[in-house]
């Protein structure tokens, strides 16, 4: 991937992610989340992982955040005016964030820089992804499916419950 393109994309992604956290209006925050997910999927395209990129848009940008918006609109959430958390909470959260950032920087900075890696033909296609999922990662894949199934059944049970 072109380094300039990467830097521009990365800056935009971080700006979108900051919007999610900092914006007072829940709908704008949700839109920031969509932008973040969309920009991440552009990054995936830059890394030759087209299948992951498309799935990222279909599942997260196209479905999950739509449900977030749906709930925000149904509950008619207003712009947040009240500050939540006192100075102690802000201090704890701030130092935790700084510590996490330091940890990430340390673990990345220690690694030697690698040049561009040639990917084999067909890398990132549906076939390649499917083969990996159903051979090397079969157990985690099936366990994730099971988890989703449990969540679906849970949702049905909760929705059926009569008070």
């Amino acid at each position: 991937m072109n380094p300039v393109a990467f830097l521009v994309l990365a800056a935009l992604t971080i700006a979108a992610a900051l919007t999610v956290v900092l914006h007072r209006n829940p709908v704008h925050s949700a839109l920031g989340l969509v932008s973040t997910l969309f920009l991440l999927s552009v990054q995936f395209v830059g890394l030759d992982a087209e299948m992951v990129a498309v799935l990222q848009i279909i599942v997260y940008a196209g479905a999950v955040v739509v449900l977030f918006l749906f709930v925000i609109m149904l509950l008619n959430l207003q712009i947040e005016v009240r500050r939540t958390g006192g100075p102690v909470l802000v201090g704890v959260a701030g130092s935790a964030a700084v510590a996490l950032a330091a940890l990430i920087v340390r673990s990345v900075a220690g690694r030697p820089a690698t040049g561009a890696v040639e990917v084999p033909a067909g890398f990132g296609s549906a076939t390649a992804l499917g083969e990996r999922l159903f051979t090397a990662y079969l157990v985690p894949f099936e366990l994730t499916s099971l988890l989703l199934l449990v969540a679906v059944i849970g949702a049905v049970v909760l929705a059926k419950k009569k008070a």
Partner: protein, 366 residues
Amino acid sequence: MGVDAAIIAGKALFLMLAFVLQVMALGVWFERKVSAVIQDRIGANRASIFGVAAMGIVNTLVADPIKFLLKEDVTPANVDHLLHAMAPVLSLVPALLAFAVIPFGDVLQVGDRVINLQPASLNVGLLYVLAMASLSVYGVVLAGWASNNRWSLLGGIRGSAQMISYEIAMGLALIGTVVVYNTLDLQEMARAQGHLLWGWLPAWGILYQPVAFVIFMTAGVAESKRIPFDLPESESELVAGYFTEYSGAKHLMFMMSDFVEVVLVSALVTVLFFGGWQVPWLFRDGFHLPGAAFVAVPSLLVTILQLTAFGLKLIFFTWLQIVIRWTLPRFRYDQLMRLGWQGLLPLALANVVVTALVVLLLERAA
């Protein structure tokens, strides 16, 4: 590099200008005149240029757009200005982007260069279309929310629930076609429909996946939010639903994205189930008619015939969707949800299982 980029841009422009926008415009004209025929009226015929009304074309395709563009753009007080202005764009752009992987012909030979007549050849093409379709819901949701109007909000909420529900049935219906063609690239799907069954019957997708066609067409009409699935706008209860508070050019963009989605559904139905650009019995060297008759056709003429066939199929399915719209009454909301979740979804799942079983058994037998 420069030539390749220019060719890709040229293909995208050609697809937009020669097919998408033309068929969309025809769709707008059909909408007025076909509905008039169905309801025993005359339909749009007032505006004319030098006395030529051209069967309402001047009225619908010249006068109406000018009127929309010149109208005052009213933005109500207390709306979220940024989102209110962004919503029509977010509704139109994904629908247009989805055309990037639609093949509109086989190949065009120019000298030594063989040009694949598809703007972008992605190996995840079909999923890309679904991704873009799933993004177009934001235009509806945001228009509904940003307008600061109860009717708009109700329309937006209905729209988001409806589009998410029908996307599932739509995606599952397409899995059947993917299993049959064994690819996600739309161009390869169109090419796979080029052979003949028993020497005379073109092997179009409708023969292999009739159930998927019915589900896809139904879900496609629901995705474009048109009658009988127009609950998000339903003018008799919600004024105009999510775009109640839009006027002028922004309203035009919402209308345009509706029609672009109609053309998109037509293009997908054509490519997946009706051979795409295939002309029956026409191969790259000429017509191989049943009974071993052969008529040689020059390569350029073959390409032109294919482009024409693709265009005619697009027009037919656009017309069909407009006839559906003016024939059926609107669903009630619970009927809409029941059809999507209890009708189409199990049917699509059954279609996937049966298709996969048959393909597996045939492979074992071979």
